[in-house]
Amino acid sequence: MFQRSYFHSGSWAVALPLLLLAGVQPVSASESISADEVTELRQQLADSNALIGSLNQRVQTLENGQPSGGGLSPSDEARIAALEDMFLDMDERVGTRGLVQAFDAISIDIGGFLTQSLTVVKGGGSSDASFNNTQFELLIAAQITEEVSFFVAQGFLREADVDFTTPSMPFFRKSAVRDPLIISWANYKHSDAVQVRVGRFVTPQGIINIEHFPPVLLDINQPMFLRPFSGNTIFPNFLSGAQVHGKFFLGEGGEDVLSYVVFSGAFTGSDADDFISGGRVQLVLGDSGFTVGGNFTHGHRTAMPGSLGNMSIVPGGSLTTNDYNVGGADLLYDKGAILWKTEYFYSGEQGNEDRTAFYTQPGYRVNDKWIVFYRYDYLDPGQGLEQSTEHMVGFNFLPVSTVRIRAVYIRKEFKGTDDEADILQLSTTFSF
């Protein structure tokens, strides 16, 4: 209202001189004004009013974009608020603490996880219980250059292994403290299609061995053919060596992803000059949820007798010395509520008993927090040892994505002795 009255009076302020110039002087000079002059004066007055209206509109437009008091526009205020939030966030994280810098790397990330399990085991003749596993792993990843990255997983474990040497009398061994260097590799990326990795890595075979880490596994006890940890029941869980890997994006829109890896390396539980080589091909079929994989490994085993591994029916090393060829296939379905993993491996042992492993593990995501699953697991470990079967049912509860709480029941069957054992295990994994 104020602005209107201001410019209303302002219009008079402009119009008055015009009137004086155009109208008053002629009145004093002559007694009559012609009709043409009146029309001209009216036109000039109309033009003046139009100009004033235009100026008035422009001033109002400027005022709308700039609040009274000469402040900032709403968009600038929002931008400054975002910058202030970012600054506060940075200040909260850093504060007066010193900054950590990598020696020579573009970036360095540190993470890890802690797993704690409680296990109750019951055989035909005895039962036992223990907080048998505390596992802390520190993960460090560094980007050394745009092409070269580095990744290490250092484990700090306290474990009391479940011993099934006498299947009807399972018991927990005394706790052992272990600090294995689980993974340590450097990766050179030439392109998506060609990358080279050297160091100690998870043997790229199958599904679960590659996933490996407890924060992503439904059960911390991997299938029997991957036990004991760091073992070589069918193929070594880990290798020290080199691998070439890459991906190709196929189909319209590159939705199908074909990946490959070829590797060669040494297994720490075997002779140092026992080279183990192999490869894997995997195809992700677009958004269908299906991933199929094929695997091959050739190697040599050197007998290194030892005690049975944790919850395993085989020792960490082999009981036989021979060359072997492993072939395997796996199928993963991961879409919507269904998560279903299946792997099959067959190892032809030259001069000795062949080995076979198979498991299938359907899971159902009830919602974002709850997953229920079942696993049928079969292992014929060769080496003159008996076969074993496990039926497992369990659930996972994830109150937040970085916390996984599990409860599993395992029915373990020993084919040779017809013994059975029941295992109940609760475990939690916290990752960061």
Binding site: A78, R79, A82, L83, D85, M86, D109, G111, F113, L139, I140, A141, A142, E146, S149, F150, F151, K189, S191, D192, I210, E211, H212, F213, P215, V216, K247, F249, E252, G253, G254, E255, V257, D287, D368, K369, L398, S401, T402, S431
Partner: protein, 161 residues
């Protein structure tokens, strides 16, 4: 009385119609509550322009399942994210990634554990994201469509949410 009742009724009817109209406007998404248009912006030098595969390629690059742009220079991708729970993130999750918050969180946990790769850096505002994208040849991110016209960037594709 006979003549007053119809007027009152008419007043009620008019008020009801106005209320219904306002409700319908809100439900159908007027200027305030309707779908918002977003744009995935890339560096202006990025020669990738395959509209048919753009959304899928952006998804693969953002999730770090793929690292190089399928363009002439094979630029190393540098994705930028938006704050968790922001309208931009919600729209990008729903329309481009096709994932829920929980599924995305699980994806990053798995990737971190297996390879040490971490989620893209989060950028607070549209203008800052545009500046970051303009700085890196392989840079990309999602902004509101009306903020996509910035120096050094161009729109790869748009979507509404």
């Amino acid at each position: 009385m006979i003549f007053h009742m119809p007027k009152q009724l008419m007043g009620l009817v008019i008020a009801a119609v106005i209320c219904l109209g306002l409700m319908a406007e809100m439900a159908s998404g007027g200027d305030d509550g309707g779908p918002v248009e977003y744009a995935v912006i890339v560096n202006a030098s990025n020669s990738f322009a395959d509209e048919a595969s753009a959304s899928n390629v952006v998804k693969q690059l953002f999730l770090k399942d793929r690292e190089d742009w399928p363009n002439k220079n094979k630029d190393q991708a540098k994705p930028f994210g938006r704050a968790a729970g922001s309208p931009e993130t919600k729209a990008f999750l729903a329309k481009v990634l096709g994932m829920t918050d929980a599924e995305l969180a699980k994806h990053w946990i798995a990737l971190k554990q297996k390879t040490g790769k971490t989620p893209p850096r989060e950028v607070a505002s549209d203008k800052m994201l545009a500046r970051f994208v303009a700085k890196f040849p392989g840079g990309f991110g999602v902004v509101k469509a009306d903020a996509a016209q910035a120096d050094g960037v161009k729109v790869l594709f748009t979507f509404k949410h």
